[in-house]
Amino acid sequence: DEAPTGGRLVVAADSEPRNLNPAIVASNSVFYISSKVVEPLAEASFDGLSPRLATSWEGSADGSTVTFKLREGVTWHDGKPFTSADVAFSAMEVWKPLQNIGRSVLANLERVETPDESTAVFHFSKPMPIQLMRNALPVVTAVLPKHVYEETEIAENPANTHPIGTGPFTFEEHRPGEYYRLAKNESYWGEGEPKLDEIIFRVLPDRAGAASALEAGEIQLAAFSQVPLVELSRMESVPGLEVVTKGYEDLTYQLIVEINHRNETLADLKVRQAIAHAIDKAFVVDTVFLGYATAATGPVPESAKEFYNPDTPSYDFDVDKANALLDEAGYPKKDDGTRFSVRLLPAPFFSETRAFGQYLRQALAAIGIDAELVNNDTPAHLNAVYKEHDFDLAIGAAVFRGDPAISTTNLVKSGIPDGVFFSNQGGYANDKIDALIDEALETVDTEKRTKLYDQFQVLVVEDLPLINVANWRFTSVASTDVVNMANNPRWVVSNWADTGLKQ
């Protein structure tokens, strides 16, 4: 639809990343703000990818190169023209060496050739599956202006906190603790875009604050479930506000139970199976997520249609079976009704992970496992789980980033050095799974590659290196005045060029 032009959109932001450079920090909280300023080569759409700075991409049959055709007539916010040199620079100097995700996805990137100003050819030392490349585009490829970053200490460049891009909005100011202000880019390449004059990201770190501010009309949008789920049904009925669940299709979060396999008890598959049987996923979906989630069947969420394999073993909610499994495994109930104790560390990132921690403690109690909750703040949690391995069970939130190779496989793969967050730090090692993962990483043929991941899913669910409990997506609460909301699967972290505001 065509949106009206003009207006200031005020949205809630719950964090203030210290580095707003999406080429270095590929995370949703950074994208949320900087995706309007710095554009990637392509963005996700409901039917595949929609071109942004690249107009097309083509992989060679052997997977050794990927060729990008770039958009012409694009200028940076400082007026300089955008060329293939910028892409080459971004890829070689930023994405590959510096970016948290690019470091692994583009590990085999050797060089980028720029035969002309609008062509960039990526050369890989090992075959690069085009499927992976495509899936990585929205996340990995925010392009930086070479002339700004060249010959500087990239990580310390002032443009990291005051980004300069080609996007529909220019970055104007950041008042720490208060707001970010973006203004319309008058010379944006998109015709008739952007619609809005201004976007203000108002810092509201507390979830309760966003709901009040929405109701008081102080802001028009709260994304990323900043309005607590329990408030949604009421917000729905507030005139002028609506609850929007669309626009997060490619931003699925996975609720997982991470398991420390160094613990002999938990290393026993029967015990893990018992735990899986003890969890009432339907209850979790209904109560912890109030229905805004789906029960997980395996390491790949249902929403990832390209990869999802529904035919995995299932662990129905069955307390008797769980108890039987534990008896079988040789952990009979003691006089006090417990079998053994574990330390349970829920990640502090989301209220849902904590709430699930409370639930899991109880679910485990029902089968005689005495779980002691340990609440840490974020650094302490990460340190305990991923560095010190000082946990038995942990509750984590993993992001599915469009392709299992991007981050999902890290959760089960062996040989990852200590201290890498959101990776397998439970000491799990399974040669079969490792081999599958390695093979898929270099399988260029899309169909074959997808098959490999089908197998991967079955193996993971069978052996339970971790337990996938639920997949959830965020919700937005917005003023009904916001036009063209949620029109792509990564809407909140897209460029909002066509978003408008009814006056």
Partner: protein
Amino acid sequence: MSAFFGRFLRSPEGMIGLVLLIAIAVMALAAPVAFPGDPLAIVARPLTAPFTDMRVPLGTDQLGRDVLVQLMYGAQTSLVVGLAAAFVAIVFGALVGTTAGFFGGLVDEALMRVVDAFQIVPGFLLALAFVSVTGPSLAVIVSAIALGAWPGPARLARAEVLSIRERDYVAAARVIGMHPAEIAFREILPNALPPVLALVSVIVASAVLIEAALSFLGLGDPNLVTWGSMIAEGRNMLRSAPYLSIVPGIGLVCVVLGVYLFGEGVVESLAHRRRRG
């Protein structure tokens, strides 16, 4: 002694405080009897409003946990934390204060600088940082609160010791050749402590509030029910389910009020005795 009780029983503040405290203590003690099992158990439909389902008279929270049960167990946490923190703060503070007062000189100087240091750093900030870095558990929270509360008793104990040291009866003890240690423990300490003990109520009350504030900021012990964390969780649903934060809030007010009133009654009844000689 009995005169003291007589006066206390006639002091309206003291009696209201006592009744409040007894009510809350009964609540806390009855919790495990009335509701054995896990207070955080999920027992009913989430967000049942109060007085709608008589099995959960005060309703349930977003996970379907009984608010009444949480309220009762939360009273335990509040009282335990309040009393324990006050105990630690007063014992430690009195120890440091009397040491400084007795020894004087360099020891006094050094200890008082430490007391100063703790007094100029906002206690809550200190507690917040301490709990964050060491991880919230009951012991940590109690120590964190005590960490901010001990300088008060320390200062008072020192001042009392210094003032009593100058009293004639201490001079009289020296004159009869009493050993300094005996002077310290028999003549000075027993007379220096009562004013310090009068701080108990203030410290208990503020410890209860600090614990609640820490829990409110997400720094409570997750294995325990605390009123602060109930309020914090309820805060997210302030409009849909205001009772979730209002009920524990009232609990807090009652405990703190009870402690203050009780303390006031005691102090007043004691003060009378001192005035009348």
